[in-house]
C-alpha cells in the first residue's frame, strides 16, 4: 500500500471500490488517486463502469466494498461517508453531470446559490455571493450572465453555471461526466482551456470520456476502465491513440474505412421544407440525396436534426415545402407510408422509439411488417414464421440474446440497435435515415453499424446520417451538410472539409467566415 510520502498532494483516493448490480459487476476492485492540480481522464467504453464509479464517489450509490478517501483540508486523507452527496459536497467534491441539474426557470445566480443558504434565514443576502462569483469568474474565465434565466442560456453556458456551482462551494475536486457530449468542437476547446487554468490553481479534475482525441489533448493522466476494472493508469504523455483504443476495447481495432462511393441519380429530395416550431424547428431546408451516397448532417444537438429525422420518419408533417422520393411526393405523413415507400429509419432514441421493450426480440423484428403476409394470415399472427425469420436475422446480424423470445429490453444498447438495423435493412430500403446511429454504443457495435450503413450505400441506397460525432461523419459521409438553428447548409464533399471549418459552421458562422 501507499506509504505516507506518496500521500502528499493526493486529494482523493478510491480504494478497492467494488459495486455489483445483481449478477453484473459494474466496478471490480477499482483504486484510483487524484493529486492536487491534476487532470485525470477516466476513459472507457459505454458500460465500462465510469459513471457508476463517479456516482459512488459522489454518494449516489454505496459501494459494496472499498472506500473513498478525501483530503478536505489538503492535509491527511480521511474516509468519506458513503451514500451521502451532502458529505461529498462538504468534503469539496463537485460534480457536473452529463444531464445538467439546473432549475430552468431560475436565474443562474439562484441556481448556484440553491442549497447553500440556510432555510431559516429571513432574507438572503446576495451581494457577498455575487462578489465571490464575480471574482471566481474573473479568475477562471467562466463568464456567464448571473441574472439570466437558465432556459435562456446555451448548453455551453449551462455547463459553465454547473462548474461555477461546484467552485462556489469551494470544490477541491471537480468531476465532469462526458462534458463534451453536448458541445461544439470550439466550445470543447474553451472548456478544456478553462479546466487547464483551474488545475493550475490547484483544483483536482476528473473528466469522464470515451473520446480519445480530447483525452490525449487535455489530460495529465489517463485511467482506463474496461468491464468495470481498471486496466491501465498511466501518464498521458506515454499514450497514443492506438494504445488507448486497444486498452479501452481490449483488442486491436480496425476503424471502418470508407471507399469513395459512386453516387447516382437524385433519390430523395426536400425542397424548402419547414416543420416544427421553437428551437428545434426546421426552416426551409433544401436537401438532395443521391442513390449510392452517404449524406452526413452535422450539427450541435437541438438545432433541428430531431425534427428533420421526425419528418423523414413520417412522424411530423411539413408545415410547408415538399418531400419527394424518386420524383413522387411523400409529403403524406405517416410512418406507414414512409416504410412502404422504401425508407428505413433508425431512430435517434432507440430505447424510446426503436423497440417495444416488453415484447420479444422476434416481435420487435417483425413489428414494422406485422401486416405483411409473411407475418399474418387473415389477421392471425404466424408465430412460427416470425420466429424462424427472427432466428435467421439474429444469426445474420449477430444479435446477442438468449433466444428470439426474450424481451427486447434485456438486450444491451448495441444489440437493440442491431434489432433496428436488422428489421429495417432487411427490407432492402431505397433510403436509409440513420439518426445518431452509434450514440452510446461501444467501439465494436459502432463499427458494425458503420459497416451496415456502408454496405447499404454500396448496393445503391441513399443514406442520410445525422450525427453529432464529427469523426463518424468525416469517416462515413460522401458529402456533409451542417444544420444550425433549423437551416441546412449546402452539402459539400467531405474531403474538402475539416473539423475546424465544420465546427465553425456548427456554431453558426457562415460558409464565408469558415473559409
Amino acid at each position: 500500500m501507499a506509504g505516507l510520502a506518496q500521500d502528499a498532494g493526493v486529494v482523493l483516493r478510491l480504494d478497492g471500490i467494488t459495486k455489483r448490480f445483481g449478477a453484473l459487476t459494474a466496478n471490480g476492485d477499482v483504486s484510483l488517486d487524484l493529486k492536487r492540480g491534476e487532470i485525470l481522464a477516466l476513459l472507457g467504453e459505454n458500460g465500462a463502469g465510469k459513471t457508476t464509479l463517479m456516482n459512488i464517489l459522489f454518494g449516489h450509490y454505496v459501494a459494496d466494498e472499498g472506500r473513498v478517501m478525501v483530503s478536505p483540508d489538503g492535509t491527511g486523507l480521511s474516509e468519506l461517508e458513503p451514500g451521502s452527496p451532502h458529505a461529498a459536497l462538504q468534503a469539496g467534491i463537485g460534480m457536473v453531470h452529463q444531464h445538467f441539474t439546473l432549475a430552468e426557470n431560475l436565474s443562474a445566480l439562484d441556481n448556484i446559490l440553491l442549497g447553500t443558504e440556510r432555510l431559516a434565514a429571513l432574507s438572503s443576502s446576495r451581494a457577498p455571493a455575487r462578489r465571490k462569483l464575480e471574482e471566481l469568474m474573473a479568475r477562471s474565465g467562466l463568464t456567464v450572465s448571473l441574472d439570466a434565466r437558465i432556459s435562456q442560456l446555451s448548453v455551453g453556458e449551462k455547463q459553465r453555471v454547473e462548474i461555477l456551482k461546484a467552485l462556489y462551494r469551494d470544490a477541491r475536486v471537480l468531476v465532469l461526466d462526458e462534458p463534451t457530449a453536448v458541445l461544439t468542437p470550439q466550445e470543447s476547446d474553451t472548456l478544456f482551456a478553462t479546466l487547464k487554468k483551474l488545475s493550475d490553481d490547484g483544483l483536482g479534475i476528473i473528466f469522464i470520456s470515451h473520446k480519445l482525441a480530447e483525452v490525449l489533448a487535455s489530460s495529465h493522466r489517463v485511467a482506463v476502465l474496461r468491464g468495470g476494472r481498471k486496466v491501465a493508469d498511466l501518464p498521458t504523455a506515454e499514450c497514443d491513440r492506438r494504445k488507448l483504443a486497444e486498452l479501452m476495447v481490449g483488442h486491436a481495432i480496425v476503424e471502418t474505412m470508407r471507399s469513395p462511393g459512386t453516387p447516382g441519380a437524385p433519390l430523395f429530395v426536400l425542397e424548402k421544407a419547414s416543420a416544427g416550431q421553437g428551437r428545434d424547428a426546421l426552416r426551409e431546408v433544401d436537401l438532395t440525396l443521391k442513390s449510392g451516397e452517404i449524406l452526413g448532417i452535422a450539427g450541435v444537438s437541438g438545432n433541428g436534426q430531431t425534427t428533420l429525422a421526425r419528418v423523414i420518419s413520417g412522424l411530423e408533417p411539413l408545415s410547408s415545402g415538399s418531400m419527394t422520393l424518386e420524383g413522387k411526393g411523400v409529403g403524406q405523413t405517416s410512418a406507414r407510408t414512409m416504410i412502404d415507400s422504401g425508407l428505413a429509419r433508425i431512430p435517434e432514441d432507440r430505447h424510446h422509439d426503436g423497440i417495444v421493450g416488453a415484447m420479444s426480440v422476434s416481435e420487435n423484428l417483425a413489428i414494422e411488417a406485422i401486416r405483411k403476409p409473411e407475418n399474418q394470415r387473415l389477421g392471425l399472427l404466424r408465430f412460427s414464421a416470425m420466429r424462424e425469420r427472427a432466428r435467421n436475422l439474429i444469426k445474420a446480424y449477430d444479435i446477442r440474446c438468449q433466444s428470439e423470445d426474450s424481451p427486447a429490453r434485456l438486450l444491451s444498447g448495441g444489440n437493440i440497435q442491431k434489432i433496428v438495423l436488422a428489421r429495417t435493412l432487411e427490407t432492402v430500403p431505397k433510403v436509409v435515415l440513420a439518426a445518431q446511429p452509434s450514440r452510446g454504443l461501444d467501439v465494436g457495435a459502432t463499427s458494425d453499424v458503420h459497416k451496415r450503413l456502408l454496405a447499404a450505400r454500396d448496393r445503391g441506397a441513399g443514406v442520410i446520417l445525422i450525427s453529432e460525432d464529427l469523426d463518424e461523419l468525416m469517416r462515413l459521409s460522401d458529402r456533409i451538410a451542417v444544420i444550425h438553428r433549423g437551416h441546412l447548409s449546402e452539402a459539400e464533399a467531405s474531403e474538402t472539409l475539416d473539423r475546424g471549418s465544420l465546427g465553425l459552421r456548427m456554431a453558426g458562422h457562415s460558409t464565408e467566415d469558415a473559409a
Binding site: F21, G22, V62, E81, P82, G83, S84, H86, A87, S313, G314, L315, S334, A335, R336, M338, I339, D340, R345, P347, H352, D353, G354, I355, V356, G357, A358, M359, E363, I367, E368, I370, R371, Q376, G379, L380, L381, F383, P407, L410
Partner: protein
C-alpha cells in the same frame, strides 16, 4: 434503511404468487375491523366461505355475481393493456342495459334465436359507442380519458334515471321508476332450474377466451400490446396508434355493455337505476388483481364475487355490516398496487449507519 433494486422480467408463477399473496393480505387486514365488530375472525371467514361455496345455491349465486365482474374486468384489462384508462365501465354497463331494454321489451317481436342476439348486440354496441367519445377526445385533442370516462358514469346514470322516470317508465310498474320487463323471447335463458345463474356466464367466459385469443394471436392484439407498452415506438414502426385506441375503446366499452345486458336480460328482467352495485368500478379491481390477463380476470372475478356473496351471507347470520366486503375488495386493490413494487424491485434492508447524515 430500505433499498430498491430493479428486477428482471417476472415469471407467470411469480405474478400469480404475488396476486394470491395480495388477496391473502387483504383478508388478513380485514380481520382487524372484523375483530373490532366483535366477531371471531375464524367464524367470520368460515361463514363467508360457507356463504359462497357452502351449497349449490351459494355456489351458483357466487357465479351469478361473478358474471358481470368478469365482463367489466375484461373491459378494464383490455383497455389498460393499451394504456387507455377506461374508468367508465359503470356507465357503459348502464348504457348496455338501457339498449337491451330498448330492444328487448316489445319494440321488435321475433323468436328468441333472433331476439336474444339482437339484445346482446345492442347492449355491446351501446357500451362501445359510449366509450367512443372519450377515446376520440383523447386521440384527437389529448383530453385525459380518466376524467371523461369517470364523469360520463354520472351523466349516463342520470340519463337512465330520466328515461326510467319518463319515456321508458313501465306503465304497469305502480309508479316505480323501472322499465318494462324484458320479453321472455329476449331474456337470456337460465343455466339451471330454480337457480338464478344464467347464460351471461357463458357469454363472459367466451369473451374471456376471445380476449385472450385476440391479445395473443392476432394482429390487432399485437398492435394493442405494442401501443400499450411503448406508443412512441409503435408509432415509429408504422402501427396505426389512433385506430388501435379506437378499436380498444370500442371493445372495452362493448364488454362493459355486455355486463349490463347480462344483469338486465339474464338476472333482473327489467331495468332500474340500482341495477349495478358498482360492478364497473369493481371491474378495475378485478383487472388489477388479474395482472391484466384475460384468464386471470376470471379467477379474480370469482374471488371478488365470493367475497361479496360470502360477506352478504355472513352479514345476515351475524349482523356485522356487509360493508366488510367493500373493505376487503379495497384492501385487495391496495395490496395489489403495493405488490407491484415486489414484482419490479428486489427489496433489501441495509444497515442504518450509512444514513446517519440523512437522519440528522
Amino acid at each position: 434503511m430500505i433499498r430498491f433494486e430493479p428486477r428482471g422480467p417476472s415469471s407467470v408463477s411469480r405474478m400469480l404468487g404475488v396476486s394470491i399473496a395480495a388477496a391473502l393480505a387483504a383478508l388478513l387486514l380485514a380481520a382487524i375491523p372484523m375483530a373490532f365488530a366483535g366477531l371471531s375472525v375464524f367464524e367470520g371467514y368460515s361463514l363467508m366461505v360457507k356463504g359462497a361455496f357452502g351449497s349449490l345455491f351459494a355456489f351458483t349465486e357466487m357465479l351469478t355475481r361473478a358474471t358481470p365482474l368478469i365482463l367489466t374486468g375484461l373491459a378494464a384489462a383490455v383497455a389498460f393493456r393499451a394504456k387507455l384508462w377506461n374508468i367508465g365501465a359503470e356507465g357503459q354497463l348502464y348504457a348496455g342495459a338501457l339498449a337491451a331494454v330498448a330492444v328487448g321489451t316489445g319494440v321488435i317481436s321475433a323468436p328468441p334465436y333472433i331476439l336474444i342476439p339482437l339484445v346482446v348486440l345492442a347492449g355491446a354496441l351501446a357500451g362501445g359507442l359510449v366509450m367512443l367519445g372519450p377515446t376520440l377526445l383523447k386521440t384527437r385533442l389529448g383530453v385525459d380519458e380518466v376524467v371523461t370516462t369517470l364523469l360520463l358514469n354520472f351523466i349516463i346514470l342520470l340519463f337512465v334515471q330520466m328515461m326510467l322516470e319518463g319515456p321508458m317508465k313501465d306503465p304497469m310498474g305502480m309508479g316505480w321508476p323501472q322499465s318494462e320487463p324484458i320479453l321472455d323471447a329476449a331474456a337470456l335463458p337460465k343455466l339451471m332450474d330454480r337457480m338464478r345463474i344464467h347464460w351471461g356466464l357463458v357469454i363472459a367466459l367466451v369473451s374471456s377466451l376471445g380476449v385472450y385469443f385476440l391479445l395473443k394471436r392476432t394482429i390487432w392484439g399485437f398492435e394493442i400490446r405494442a401501443v400499450g407498452e411503448n406508443a412512441a415506438a409503435a408509432r415509429h414502426a408504422g402501427i396505426p396508434v389512433t385506430a388501435t385506441f379506437i378499436r380498444v375503446g370500442l371493445l372495452s366499452g362493448a364488454l362493459a355493455g355486455l355486463a349490463g345486458v347480462g344483469e338486465v336480460a339474464g338476472l333482473k328482467g327489467y331495468l332500474t337505476a340500482d341495477l349495478s352495485p358498482g360492478f364497473g368500478y369493481s371491474g378495475i379491481v378485478v383487472a388489477m388483481l388479474a395482472g391484466l390477463s384475460p384468464a386471470g380476470v376470471v379467477l379474480a372475478a370469482l374471488f371478488i364475487a365470493s367475497i361479496f356473496v360470502g360477506a352478504d351471507s355472513m352479514s345476515r347470520a351475524t349482523g356485522v355490516s356487509n360493508y366488510l366486503a367493500d373493505l376487503i375488495v379495497a384492501m385487495a386493490l391496495l395490496c395489489v398496487l403495493v405488490s407491484g413494487l415486489f414484482l419490479r424491485f428486489k427489496i433489501r434492508f441495509v444497515g442504518s449507519q450509512t444514513n446517519k447524515e440523512a437522519a440528522e
